[in-house]
């Protein structure tokens, strides 16, 4: 591609990356937010390809495609309102956040504008992938090994953190408040009793003081 077309493509990808990034935090649907983030990543990957970092751009496509799909499934499994059927505003300190966001953009933008960066042409534009391969498998091998070990540790850590059953019994023993009535899990603080719709009203509907505690029926 010649210079003008690269500039046009860069403009389109840049606007799309920023616009989809903004959409992530304003859409009601969490699944739509996930795929907006994916679109933002894909546009940044395309810009990386334009920057002659083809390996990184394509790696970005693959990695983010998988990661955001997982995230979308996760949204449906865990989060409220995954399809955005209800209007939703789940934010705190919105004004501070906007101010900090604008300030950080302005700050980094000012650095970019003020920095006196000399443009150095790439010596061998057609050999960047080969050069990166030799670098990763050669003198940067230590970096690659650290990356690999870190990813293994991450896998182990993720399984340990998210497993329901620990090595010596249920993983959440000791991390939850004990039941008010020993042995009766429905009296545990913070546990929603299914179906009563009352949320934290645990004295509701288990047997008129049979457990010996005040169920509010004395009057």
């Amino acid at each position: 591609m010649t210079g003008t077309w690269v500039d046009i493509a860069f403009g389109v990808f840049a606007v799309a990356a920023a616009w989809f990034g903004w959409r992530v935090f304003v859409t009601d649907s969490m699944v739509r937010a996930t795929f907006s983030l994916l679109a933002s990543f894909l546009n940044v990957g395309a810009i990386l390809v334009l920057l002659l970092a083809e390996y990184l751009g394509v790696a970005m496509f693959f990695m983010m495609g998988v990661e955001m799909t997982v995230m979308a499934i996760y949204m449906v499994a865990f989060m409220m309102n995954p399809a955005g059927l209800n209007p939703m505003q789940m934010v705190h300190q919105p004004r501070v956040a906007v101010v900090v966001g604008v300030l950080s953009t302005a700050g980094f933008g000012a650095v970019a504008l003020a920095a006196d960066l000399d443009t150095v042409a790439i010596v061998d534009p057609d050999g960047t992938i080969r050069a990166l391969g030799h670098e990763l498998m050669g003198s940067s091998m230590l970096v690659m090994q650290v990356v690999g070990v870190t990813l293994v540790a991450t896998m182990v850590g993720a399984v340990v953190l998210s497993a329901a059953s620990g090595r010596f019994g249920p993983a959440d023993v000791g991390s939850v408040p004990p039941a008010i009535v020993p042995g009766d899990d429905t009296t545990r603080p913070g546990v929603d009793v299914g179906g009563d719709g009352g949320g934290h009203d645990h004295d509701h509907g288990h047997g008129g003081g049979a457990h010996g505690h005040d169920d509010g029926g004395d009057a």
Partner: protein, 101 residues
């Protein structure tokens, strides 16, 4: 497409990510904000590699490391959200404010 324009786009992505991290309540949305910010960091590193390094491949290795940070953040973040969701029935930052009371 110059180094300055690409860095400006990266700054915008970083700013949007920062805004998202600070304003969202849901854990997963906060993680999305972090990912968007790292996205901007990777773009900035790629731009500096392209325009100022003369094609030195170690610049791209830096971007690979940023990508590693993103993968670790996503995997450990998801695992933590599962653990918190299981132990506290919470999926927002306001749901785990016990120590403040």
């Amino acid at each position: 497409m110059t180094v300055v324009t690409v860095l400006l786009v990266a700054a915008v992505l970083l700013g949007i990510g920062t805004w998202g991290v600070l304003s969202q309540q849901s854990f997963v949305m906060i993680m999305m904000g972090f990912e968007l910010a790292i996205n901007g960091v990777m773009l900035a590193a790629g731009a500096l590699w392209r325009f100022t390094s003369g094609g030195e491949p170690r610049g791209q290795v830096l971007v690979v490391v940023a990508m590693l940070v993103m993968a670790v953040e996503a995997a450990i973040g998801f695992a933590l959200v599962v653990a918190v969701s299981r132990a506290r029935r919470a999926d927002t930052t306001e749901g785990i404010a016990e120590l403040r009371r």
